[in-house]
């Protein structure tokens, strides 16, 4: 065994999952808060053509669902957004359109609901430093096509454009959504939201902090 190898075996430290009394910044300044605690305000009003209105077609209901989803993202209603998903739902942004398996391929996002909750927990924490600068998004969804429909499941393709503002700069993202929606009475739950972004392989000028 080389000397380096034996040095690497010395003094092995493994961090157990125990709640640290306080993390670094907290131990020095527990209230070091660069911004207000995140509070989800009132949800955006739903369309009058929404669930329960008889003359709204399936196409209209699906479109209203997608518009609502975008408004939840833009309004930072993270928990309401996560509630749109089935308990075993998945949000997936692969790198290339050719990818088919969310669990077995390198992805930009590959998150079940539980991981989405961790992401929400991170982004709403007062010491999520990256959230200190002004930050917001504006989504536009269109070209909505119901690709298939059974009594229980819809597959819906749409296009999105998203502008993000962070600090003083705008970034532009665009691409295709493919939603696998489960019918629940008048409304839907997301089994899979697949996001194929046009600029998925371009260099990212900073990261994506939250779902697109």
């Amino acid at each position: 065994m080389s000397k380096l190898d034996s040095r690497l075996l010395d003094e092995v430290v493994i961090f157990e999952n125990q709640e640290a009394k306080s993390t670094g910044a907290q131990s020095l300044a527990p209230d070091h808060t660069p911004r207000q605690l995140h509070r989800e305000g009132a949800l955006p009003a739903r369309s009058a053509l929404g669930p329960g209105v008889q003359h709204s077609s399936l196409q209209q209901r699906v479109e209203q669902f997608l518009f609502h989803q975008s408004e939840l993202l833009d309004g930072k209603h993270w928990s309401a957004y996560i509630e749109l998903f089935e308990a075993d739902g998945v949000y997936w942004m692969p790198v290339t359109p050719e990818q088919t398996e969310w669990l077995d391929s390198a992805s930009i996002f590959a998150e079940d609901v539980s991981m989405m909750q961790i992401r929400m927990g991170r982004v709403t924490h007062p010491n999520a430093w990256s959230q200190a600068p002004n930050w917001g998004t504006s989504h536009l969804v269109g070209n909505v096509v119901i690709e298939s429909a059974t009594a229980t499941t819809l597959v819906v393709r749409s296009r999105f454009q998203m502008i993000e503002m962070r600090r003083d700069l705008l970034r532009h993202f665009a691409g295709t959504y493919r939603h696998t929606l489960k019918l629940h009475g008048d409304t839907f739950k997301i089994a899979l939201q697949r996001v194929d972004m046009l600029n998925a392989q371009a260099p990212f000028d900073y990261v994506l902090q939250i779902w697109v």
Partner: protein
């Protein structure tokens, strides 16, 4: 440019080493364009004609597999009028490079193959026997365990001399495969850092920052991990990847760094990547079968978080991923992020490393989101006239030096930065 003297002291450096264009230009000339630079993995160019473009310092290069199976690294420039021969980042060029401007063609080893209307060169000194008619190659190309490096200067150390003990980055990665090899996962995430390349290199072995910078993610993941435990469920290992970031200062201080000559270094492991489950048991059994119990245990017990190959590579060997820096400007650094699959392991073992890649190293990373914010703000701070010096005083004089290796007694010692700047000074003075 201003003289280098007085910019680097043993315990502090002048802010301009992060901000000055002339210093940056000298770094490109004296470091990147002189020493070994990582190009890619052999499995990125499997077949003859497969190529991948790569930036070495300010030089656009092509890594290409030849008809003779050899990998070469050539300047991406037509000898005729300078037009780049490969217009895409990657692909297969067949048996020939063809210039899109005047159809000069070249063999995959760079030799000129054909010139249209060649009689037009009769009587000139530009004829096919003139080496100026062929694509220029890197002075040296070599690989270690499948990882390809090129050097643009004929002088200097061999690849193995350059890597020194830091070659363990590639040993640790490959030895974890029962076949002793890895192959590339064909996805390259690229993230632009709006900061000097040194911020990333220093950050990689900086054990004081995680519980400050990454506390929001660590706390959120720890909460989820404990909630699952309370329900009697074993939380997935990848929750632990995130939750460990919120460990206390004292815990981080107990993780040692190892600092080699040439600025290379190791942050020792802390995540405990060997759970007791059927997938791991099966994997360990396959390792025993391949290497024998003693050797396999030696490989599996190597306790590394990541290895730095200074000044551009951070290799997370136990999880088979690496990040490579391609500096663009004093305040702009492109990072290329790659993942490798251990040959001969099951899907669940691959997935374990993949989770880390997706959660920590993807462009939606919950970790680097806060690092990048720090580095941008750091760059802006150092561009100001606020103060002139950057402090690396922590545990100065308190490290344990054995031969040419410095072991930090404290994980949070700024021995890492001091070691990097020692190497930097040697490169820059040369």
């Amino acid at each position: 440019m201003q003289p280098l003297e007085g910019l680097v002291e043993s315990d502090r450096v002048h802010r301009t080493v992060y901000t000055d264009q002339a210093i940056f230009d000298r770094e490109m000339a004296n470091i990147w364009e002189k020493t070994w630079v990582y190009c890619g993995h052999e499995s990125q160019v499997k077949l003859p004609g497969d190529f991948y473009t790569v930036q070495i310092g300010r030089q656009p290069m092509i890594m290409v597999r030849g008809m003779d199976k050899k990998i070469r690294v050539l300047y991406n420039r037509c000898p005729h009028r300078g037009v780049q021969l490969c217009g895409s980042r990657q692909g297969n060029t067949g048996s020939t490079f063809v210039c899109s401007y005047h159809a000069w063609t070249f063999h995959l080893d760079g030799r000129v193959k054909g010139i249209p209307l060649p009689r037009g060169y009769d009587g000139t000194r530009m004829n096919p026997d003139n080496p100026d008619c062929s694509m220029k190659g890197a002075a040296q190309v070599d690989s270690y365990r499948g990882f390809v490096f090129a050097k643009l200067s004929p002088q200097g150390p061999s690849l193995l001399e350059f890597l020194g003990d830091a070659k363990i980055a590639f040993d640790d990665m490959c030895d974890r495969s029962p076949l002793g090899e890895v192959e590339i996962v064909p996805v390259c995430h690229r993230v632009m850092q709006h900061s000097n390349w040194k911020f990333f290199m220093e950050n990689q072995l900086d054990a004081l920052h995680p519980s400050v910078t990454h506390q929001s993610t660590g706390i959120a993941a720890g909460r989820a991990e404990r909630a699952l435990k309370a329900q009697g469920t074993t939380p997935p290992l990848y929750y632990h990847y995130l939750s460990t970031f919120a460990s206390s200062f004292d815990q981080w201080d107990s993780v040692q760094t190892v600092n080699f000559p040439r600025g290379h270094g190791i942050l020792k492991g802390y995540m405990g990547l060997r759970p007791d489950d059927p997938d791991t048991k099966e994997y360990v059994a396959s390792m025993y079968k391949a290497y024998g119990e003693k050797k396999a245990e030696e490989f599996l017990a190597r306790n590394i978080h990541h290895v730095l190959i200074y000044p551009y590579l951070s290799v997370q060997s136990p999880l088979q991923q690496l990040r490579c820096l391609r500096p663009v400007a004093p305040n702009k650094t492109l990072s290329e992020i790659w993942h490798f699959r251990l040959k001969g392991v099951s899907d669940p073992i691959y997935r374990r490393a993949l989770w880390y890649f997706n959660l920590v190293n993807s462009p939606a990373t919950m970790i680097n989101a806060d690092d990048l914010e720090n580095w941008s703000k750091g760059q802006w701070g150092l561009e100001s006239n606020g103060l002139d010096w950057v402090s690396f005083h922590r545990n100065h004089g308190g490290d344990s030096i054995e031969g040419d290796v410095t072991y930090s007694k404290n994980g949070t010692s700024e021995a890492v930065m001091r070691s990097q700047f020692k190497a930097w000074t040697e490169y820059m003075r040369a």
